[in-house]
């Protein structure tokens, strides 16, 4: 009975990682990452540049040996069963993982041939994917002449010539316009519906929110928070008030007022005139801004919004992503 249970548990996980470490020079790019990602789910790996997202994915995709720790992909050990793992995974890197000098159809046919399709099957499969991804009109165009969104789609198409059991997507929508981003999101959702497990990295909380069943927030190589998006947002608070002051000298008074009315700590932004505070109650926000008006504190801009990645970081770590970026220049 005990044995049965063990097997069942083992079968549930697409990725299990324990204490993965990668060290570059003296810095740990990845510093003890644990992951447990269920089959058939989307896992969002959220963090700023240099947090260790790409390094973690590269280790899990058998591209980079870990300096410490272990991981299993569908029960296969990362070190000893690399070949078995590569039969089940696919990777779409942050930069185009295709030959930009070749046309769209040539790229897909190349991958299909490498996967074991005959020439004819490869052509059929390539055309099928190009059509499904809305790229049939550009099949015979060199990929370097594609737009950003088209490029990202052909890249993902190349990853699913043979539908993988686990797909790694490294920042699939960075630099895309909203329409292209939505197209990529549609593709990811369709993949999950057919049973593929997806691990994606992103810098945008909204993206993780839209797609991921569970989200891991990574900073300086460590996972600092993990859970569903509602769990994460609950830890951050429901909303955030951003205020841009006209005069820097009003700052102290503005901070006092906001702390008084909102009952929350006020964080300074990147310049001396922007303030951020957690705000759960819009009525109190209105009152605080009313107080600003009475005290003649001029405001050039304000917004009350859902928490952004920056606010997740503010809350979880006490400093912003910009500070993190400037402090750390690795990868």
């Amino acid at each position: 009975m005990k044995e049965d249970k063990k097997i069942l548990q083992k079968n549930d996980w697409a990725i299990e990682a324990n204490g993965l470490v990668k060290i570059y020079g003296k810095e740990a790019a990845v510093d003890g990452v644990d992951l447990a990602i269920q089959k058939g789910t989307v896992y969002g790996f959220l963090g700023p540049n240099g947090a260790g997202k790409t390094t973690t994915i590269r280790m899990l995709a058998t591209l980079l040996p870990a300096d410490a720790g272990s991981a299993r992909i569908f029960g296969n050990d990362l070190v000893s069963d690399g070949a078995a793992i590569r039969k089940r995974i696919s990777l779409t890197g942050q930069y185009a993982s295709i030959d930009e000098d070749l046309t769209g159809i040539e790229n897909l046919m190349l991958i299909a041939r490498l996967m074991g399709y005959t020439r004819r099957q490869a052509k059929t499969r390539a055309m099928e994917l190009l059509t499904a991804f809305g790229l049939d009109h550009a099949a015979k165009r060199q990929v370097k002449k594609y737009s950003g969104g088209m490029r990202r789609r052909i890249d993902i198409a190349a990853s699913i010539v043979v539908t993988p059991d686990l797909l790694f997507l490294d920042e699939p929508t960075s630099g895309l316009d909203p329409r292209s981003r939505n197209q990529v999101w549609d593709i990811i959702r369709a993949l999950v519906r057919t049973g593929t497990t997806v691990m994606l990295t992103t810098q945008y909380l909204e993206e993780a929110d839209q797609l991921a069943d569970r989200i891991g927030v990574i900073q300086r190589g460590k996972i600092i928070a993990e859970g569903t998006s509602s769990e994460l947002k609950a830890s951050v608070g429901r909303g955030t008030l951003n205020v841009q002051l006209v005069h820097a000298e009003d700052r102290q008074l503005a901070i006092d007022i906001l702390e008084d009315y909102l009952g929350a700590a006020v964080h300074l932004g990147t310049d001396s005139t922007s303030l951020t505070a957690q705000a759960d109650d819009s009525i109190r926000v209105g009152e605080a801004l009313g107080e600003f008006a009475r005290r003649r504190i001029e405001v050039s801009d304000f917004s009350l919004g859902r928490p952004s990645l920056d606010e997740v970081f503010l809350t979880l770590t006490g400093h912003s992503t910009e500070q993190q970026d400037s402090g750390e220049e690795i990868l």
Binding site: L110, S159, V162
Partner: protein, 288 residues
């Protein structure tokens, strides 16, 4: 096709993949069944066809196997011919086999440069996550390079014949000589692929190849008879693998080739391949 379907097709063409193509997307994803893995041979052929397609799309990369040989041969024949051998046509008989070796040896570096370019793009990671026999990625590319080297050889010999090159070894001699050049160049390419995986950029690789190949090709018996050199330099010329190859190629083109020369070239080639092919594959697999 019904009118409705047609409208839908048109709409989806206009909108990319939005909306109604959803089922088509699901269908396309679901039909990505895994075939039996590609054999080492078919993945090698797939990579070779990639290299051929790259030539089709970037034809200017053929300059090195067409223009280089022409310029090198004309330049050195007319520049040195009178001074070294008294006449250009006499010198051509001596020079052509050597300059062929030099030209092909120098263009082997492009294999490493192509690989270095792949690494800096994401496609290198893609290949390494595919369930394929990994050496096929390099062997496929190298096979096409061998075709390129053949082209360079043919161009050079054709031009030489027009300029008055008279190989006493005949067609068979030329054929054997080119075969030796190809074996040697294939083996030499592994050095550049290994370095291509280590160095940061294609510029540094070009620099390194220049630093290595310039002395190796010039301080050899390609241009001059080594007996005219100081003794200490003769020592270097004699152990220089470029000299080994040039001697054999010259021998076969002029009908004086020996088995010993063939063995020497094959031995040098085998040593280069035995060291640098496994090293390349190790670096390819374990590239950070």
């Amino acid at each position: 096709m019904t009118v409705q379907q047609q409208t839908r097709e048109t709409a989806s063409a206009a909108n990319g993949i939005e909306g109604s193509t959803d089922e088509r997307l699901l269908q396309a994803i679901a039909s990505g069944k895994r075939p039996d893995p590609a054999s080492g041979w078919s993945s090698t052929m797939a990579f070779a066809s990639r290299a051929l397609l790259r030539i089709k799309h970037i034809p200017e990369q053929m300059f090195d196997v067409t223009l280089f040989p022409i310029i090198f041969l004309l330049m050195f024949t007319y520049l040195f011919g009178g001074a070294i051998a008294g006449s250009t046509s006499d010198y051509l008989q001596f020079l052509l086999p050597g300059i062929l070796v030099m030209t092909v040896a120098q263009i082997t570096v492009y294999t490493g440069i192509d690989l270095n370019n792949d690494i800096r793009k994401g496609i290198f990671d893609r290949f390494r996550t595919l369930p394929i026999w990994l050496p096929s990625a390099l062997i496929g590319a190298l096979l096409v390079d061998v075709v390129r080297y053949t082209m360079a050889s043919v161009v050079m010999i054709a031009l030489g014949l027009m300029l008055g090159f008279r190989p006493e070894g005949g067609a068979v001699g030329i054929f054997l000589a080119i075969a030796l050049v190809l074996v040697f160049s294939f083996s030499l390419s592994w050095i550049w692929t290994a370095l291509g995986l280590i160095v940061r950029s294609e510029k540094s690789l070009m620099m390194m190849s220049f630093l290595v190949m310039m002395p190796l090709t010039f301080i050899s018996n390609v241009f001059v008879d080594p007996t005219t050199l100081p003794t200490w330099l003769q020592g270097f010329v004699n152990i220089n693998p470029i000299s080994t190859l040039a001697t054999a190629v010259r021998g076969f083109m002029h009908g004086m080739g020996t088995w010993q020369q063939v063995v020497n070239v094959l031995l040098v080639s085998a040593i280069m391949t035995a060291i640098f092919a496994p090293l390349t594959m190790y670096l390819y697999r374990n590239k950070k």
